[in-house]
Amino acid sequence: MSAATVTPPDVVSDAPIPLRSHLRHTGALIRRNLLWIRQDPESMFDAILFPVIFTLLFVYVFGGSIGQSLGGGQQAYVQYVVPGLMAMMGMNMAQGVGTGFNTDFNSGVMDRFRSLPIGRGSVLFAKIAVEVMRMLIATAVLMVVGVLVGFDITNWPGLFASVGLSALFGSALMWVFLTLGVIMKSAQSVQAMGFLVLMPLQFGSSIFAPTKSMPGWLQNFTAYNPLSALADAARGLMVGGPVAHGLWVTLGWSFALTVVMAPVAIHKFRTKS
C-alpha cells in the first residue's frame, strides 16, 4: 500500500495556505455541519416552521386590517408581507448562528481545529455556508406557504434577485453574530444580545407594515434600517415598485458589515484562548 503518501514532509513549507487548500478545508467543515443536520434533523425545525408560522400569523391576524389601509384587503397584504418576511429569514438564521457557534466554540473539537494547519477562517466560512443553505430552505418554504395563501409571483427573475440579496445581507449579518458568538461567554447571553439588537430593527421597519403612518423620526430610522431596505427592495423586485434606494442601502450595509465584521470575527476566533 502506498503509505508514503501520508508521511508528512520533513521540511514543511512556510508558504501561505493555497486557495485550493482553503476550499478543501472549508468543504470538510461544511460536511461536518451538514452531518450534524443529518444526525439531528430536528435542528431543521426552525428553518421549516418559522416561515410557516409567521406567514400564517401575519396574513390572518393583521392581513385584513393592514390590507385595508393598503387599499385591497387580505390579498393586498399577502403581496406586501411575503417579500418582507423573506427579508427576515436571513436575520433569523443569523441570530441562530451566534448561539450555535458559541456552544460549538466551547467544545473540545475547536481546540483540535485550532491546532491544525488550516486557515482559521475556514471554520467560520463553513458555518456561514451551511447557514445560508438553511436560509435558502427557509425561503423556499416561505414561498410555498406564500403561494398557498395567495401570493402571486409576478416576476421570477425579481424573485431570484431578492433571494440573492437577502442571502447576501444574511451572510453579512452572520459575521456580526459569529463575532458575538466568539466573544461572549455563554450561548444565552448571545441570544439575549441578538434579541436586543434585532427587535427594534425588525419591527421598526417596513417588513410588516408600511412606514407612512409612523412618526417622522421613526421614518428616518426605517429609511436606513437594513431590514427595511431589504424588505423594500425585495418587494420592488418581486411585485413591482421602487427598488433603487432599498437595493443600495442593503448593498451598502452588507458590504460594510462584511468588510468590518469578517476580519474582526476571524481575528477574535484566532486569538481567543
Binding site: A3, P8, I17, A28, R31, D111, R112, F113, S115, P117
Partner: protein, 346 residues
C-alpha cells in the same frame, strides 16, 4: 498488515536531539502566573512526563506548545519550529489530545477521522483509508458509524488518540490522557500510547499520577504553580523522593512503635525516616533499592514479629511534592509520636 509502520520511514529513537525545547516560558492570566518561567526539554523519541497537581500550569504549557495560546515571554520550539514565528509549520507536525476529548461528539467516529484527514490535506482516498486504518488500530471499527457521543470514556479517548495520529505527527501532546478513566480503561490508553512511542513519536505527557508517569515516561518534570521544581530521569527522581514505600502491618498493633524504632536504628544506608500510620495500623518505610527491601523484611523476620500484611506502594503525588519541596513527608506524623501510639493502644 502491520499498522505500526504504516506511515513512516523508520524513525531514529532517542537520538539525544531535542524535539521540544522550552526556555523561560511565561503566561499570565491577570494576577495568576499560570507559567512562571518554565524550562524543559524533550529528547527525540522519548516521553517526558510533566507531573503536577491541578492548577500547576500543565494545560497552559500544552496549549502554548500547540499554538492555542500565545505565551507572554520566553521561547519554545517544537520539532525545530518556533511556536511564535512558525505556528503553521508547527501545527503540521504535532498531534494534540486534550484533557477534554477533542473530537466532534455529534459526528460518527469515522467521520471525525475523515474530516481531520481532509483538514490535513490528504486526498479523499487517502483520508478514507487512513480513517479505516486508524479505527482498526484503535479497535473502534465496530463503532465507526456511531456518533462519538454514544462512546464510552475509553472509546472516546482512543478516538481522540486516533485523531491525533492522522497526520503522523512527530511530536504528540497528551494532556492528562487518562484523567477520569477507570483503571482498566486507563491501562488500555497506556498500551496505545506505548505503541505510538514504539513507532518513534516523541511525547510530552501531562499527568497527576506518579504511576502514569512511571508507566509511560522516561523523564519527568515536576511543576507547581507555574514553576519547574524538579526534573530528571524517573529513577533519579524516584530516588530523591524515596522510591517505593513499604507498608508493613503487624498483627499486634502494639508492635507498631517498636517496629518503627527498629528500622530507624537499623542503620541501612540511605533509609529514610519511617512513618507510623496509626489509622491503618501500619508502618511505612521508604525504600530505595531491592537490597534495602530485603534487609528490612529480613530484620522483621529476625525479630519474630508476625505480619498481617506487607505491600509496596509508589509515592503519591503529595508525597513527591513534600519531598521535592523540602518538607519531609514524615514531619506531621513525627511531630506527634506519643499520640499515635496511644490511639493505637486504645
Amino acid at each position: 498488515m502491520d499498522m505500526t509502520r504504516i506511515d513512516n520511514t523508520p524513525r531514529q529513537a532517542a537520538t539525544g536531539r531535542s524535539a521540544v525545547t522550552v526556555r523561560g516560558l511565561v503566561k499570565h492570566y491577570g494576577e495568576t502566573k499560570a507559567l512562571d518561567g518554565v524550562d524543559l526539554e524533550v529528547r527525540e523519541g522519548t516521553v517526558l512526563g510533566v507531573l503536577g497537581p491541578n492548577g500547576a500550569g500543565k494545560t497552559t504549557l500544552v496549549r502554548c506548545l500547540s499554538t492555542l495560546i500565545t505565551p507572554d515571554a520566553g521561547q519554545a520550539t517544537v520539532a525545530g519550529y518556533d511556536v511564535l514565528k512558525q505556528p503553521r509549520q508547527l501545527r503540521r507536525v504535532i498531534g494534540l489530545t486534550g484533557q477534554y476529548a477533542s473530537v466532534d461528539e455529534k459526528l460518527p467516529g469515522w467521520e471525525n477521522l475523515y474530516m481531520i484527514g481532509r483538514l490535513l490535506d490528504l486526498p479523499r482516498k487517502d483520508a478514507r483509508r487512513r480513517a479505516d486504518e486508524l479505527l482498526e488500530r484503535f479497535s473502534l471499527t465496530e463503532a465507526a458509524k456511531r456518533p462519538a457521543s454514544t462512546y464510552s470514556g475509553g472509546m472516546r479517548r482512543r478516538l481522540d488518540l486516533a485523531a491525533s495520529m492522522i497526520g503522523s505527527p512527530t511530536v504528540l501532546f497528551l494532556d492528562e490522557p487518562t484523567t477520569g478513566l477507570d483503571p482498566r480503561t486507563r491501562n488500555e490508553v497506556w498500551q496505545e500510547v506505548k505503541r505510538m512511542v514504539a513507532d518513534g513519536v516523541t511525547v510530552l505527557l501531562t499527568t497527576q499520577y506518579m504511576e502514569e508517569a512511571e508507566q509511560l515516561a522516561s523523564e519527568l518534570t515536576v511543576i507547581d504553580r507555574g514553576k519547574v521544581i524538579a526534573s530528571g530521569r524517573i529513577d533519579e527522581l524516584k530516588a530523591r523522593v524515596g522510591g517505593r514505600t513499604l507498608r508493613i502491618r503487624p498483627v499486634d498493633p502494639l508492635q507498631l512503635r517498636p517496629l518503627a524504632t527498629m528500622f530507624d536504628e537499623l542503620g541501612l544506608t540511605g533509609l529514610a525516616t519511617t512513618i507510623v500510620d496509626s489509622e491503618t495500623g501500619s508502618v511505612l518505610v521508604p525504600i530505595l533499592s531491592d537490597e534495602q527491601l530485603t534487609a528490612v523484611v529480613g530484620a522483621v523476620t529476625a525479630r519474630g514479629i508476625t505480619i498481617a500484611s506487607i505491600s509496596t506502594e509508589l509515592p503519591s503525588l503529595d508525597e513527591v511534592f513534600l519531598s521535592l519541596t523540602g518538607h519531609k513527608a514524615s514531619a506531621p506524623q513525627g511531630a506527634t509520636p506519643t499520640n499515635s501510639r496511644e490511639e493505637v493502644a486504645v
